[in-house]
Symmetry: C2
Amino acid sequence: MTKVNKNYLKLPGSYLFSQIGKKVRAYEAAHPEKKVIRLGIGDVTQPIAPKVLSALHTAVDEMGHEETFRGYAPDLGYAFLRDVIARKDFQERGMAVAADEIFISDGVKCDCGNIQEIFSTENTIAVQDPVYPVYVDSNVMAGRGGQYDPSLQRFDQVIYLPCTRENGFVPELPARVPDLIYLCFPNNPTGAVMTKDQLQEWVDYANRNGSVLLYDAAYEAYISQPDIPHSIYECSGAGTCAIEFRSFSKTAGFTGLRLGYTVIPKTVKAEGVALWDLWARRHGTKYNGAPYIIQRAGEAVYSAEGRKQIQDQIAWYMGNAKIIADGLREAGYEVSGGVNAPYIWMRTPGHRTSWEFFDELLEQANVVGTPGAGFGPHGEYYLRLTAFGNRENTIEAVNRIKAL
Amino acid sequence: MTKVNKNYLKLPGSYLFSQIGKKVRAYEAAHPEKKVIRLGIGDVTQPIAPKVLSALHTAVDEMGHEETFRGYAPDLGYAFLRDVIARKDFQERGMAVAADEIFISDGVKCDCGNIQEIFSTENTIAVQDPVYPVYVDSNVMAGRGGQYDPSLQRFDQVIYLPCTRENGFVPELPARVPDLIYLCFPNNPTGAVMTKDQLQEWVDYANRNGSVLLYDAAYEAYISQPDIPHSIYECSGAGTCAIEFRSFSKTAGFTGLRLGYTVIPKTVKAEGVALWDLWARRHGTKYNGAPYIIQRAGEAVYSAEGRKQIQDQIAWYMGNAKIIADGLREAGYEVSGGVNAPYIWMRTPGHRTSWEFFDELLEQANVVGTPGAGFGPHGEYYLRLTAFGNRENTIEAVNRIKAL
């Protein structure tokens, strides 16, 4: 008699963004005359950069001729893409990451969700609180969560690292040592960053205790201040304890194209086993590579022209971030983030819960934010807004919130 | 102290096709003057059909304008693609599969590898022997394999269903009831098919015993004979016990574009839980959708023009299959498959092991096949050849083998 994976049944409710989507669709169906502005899900709105588009067209043409047609991609990604990533993102910035330590994938969400598979289910995990829900959910599905306590909104086996206004949304080193530590900087949802010295402390902590750091740097391209590390490999010793996730989604508007990569230095080991070997085995067995045409699009992101176009786009989004942060501050809201990340983290007014404030914004201002509580218990009393809307909508959304 | 998933360490050697790739690259490096013909890995060689190419270009253009740009896809796939699949692949063929029972993905390898996650690790699995290695490997990684016995080349917890020349490569119903039963028809690697009556027996067996059938129909487009089911939902009762996997890779040459889908009727349950809910949760949490442009390419496959172009391609590949099967029979080899599948299953001559014969073919004929033993112990003494080469190479490969 077939049994299901009962760990799935421990997950409370549906995935955060699916839940928001349902609420918004229901509101729109009931109020078709209202123009709802989405500053909720972190989805980009600017079109793909011209240089990337032209790479896509060229690659599509190649697929139409037998001589240039490409079938299955190499398991771990095409060399043309792995090489340029290693060179531009790491080696030219003084980090010793090799091309064969780069694993190309269809996005960092998949990689962040799947990476836990190569570790024992007995491992304990630590996550920032609040944080991107995939880290906890994927571990709960694998049985590392323990039991969910609805009153605490926590799983009893997970080590939560509170990120609060008091600590500037940067967690303290935990007293009880986790085996796997997820860090996301620039942070989703708070927009907070760590300085290089702060991150170095985590690297030292991991090496001292035999923990592995799972570093999600999906938003590194949005860093605008100096002394903020773009990669964990800027810290000394990271090559023996850290895996890094990178995304093209926010860097180059690839949310609908799907491309990301994971870095596993061959020197990162657990119980003497190179994690590189395990992840390569997972890729070889359960994955079949990102589409050729999308990998060519990724390559174009690193060309001089592509880089320029993409930087302009990021600057443009960060213009939105400034409009939101400045506008809300003017209106008396408590706001952080938006300087090194496309996320603005606002405190709900009048001690409303984040879902209450979400509903209020949706119904009264027709603006969609993301309830902070969806990112973890310490996200309660916050709402995340994103800089990914278009300019006109962003300005209008801020004006509507001001007018509440 | 971080621990690894020790189940990974139980897997013998690397993934079959990675291993073949390494051997071939080594041979080519040592003998740069030789022209190696690959009839090993099941990768297509014909260019993408014109109608699909044009859909790709159009979709790429859409990504270049703000009004038509698409970011994150809906979790389970775009409605335009799920609708046309439900209609053309099922409803118009008399099956009651609904659009929202279709889950779009980046390929059937991923789905076949990931589906086991929604089941308990206590479940027992059954697989055809020989068969596509992903079913066993993905379950071993999750802990359902037990221990590997190198002398038997088997995992002691897996129920192997022998497919031999004696049973026409169609397995018998197992005496010990498995919880999860993987069936692959048309079969990879043997090319064998089941009649509808035979498949109905499996559906009845699963319903009687509370097992779930995981039916891989990646090669259904190659079926040329009547009374061979293209989908398990042609059998009565499949809607309460069967999940089906479908691929665009071999149907439409998408091995490098990556697109597939999984069908889970809402009526398939285990322990009272709808498997649809669990798989939807997995998609929502650990996956982010196939690229928009690729989903548009998939849609074009169902247009009248696209369908015609693709059928011509399949007929052309099956021409290769006939050349291989006829040629090898002429030369005195024992051969099956190649009629309803793009695979030819040849018995090794002189009782050579399949890896011995692989090496001999590579070194003496410069032809790459796939050693049958890589698909399971009952694949020993066989080699798989594929019909996916180009015509000229296929003819030359057959002539070289004849000349051995």
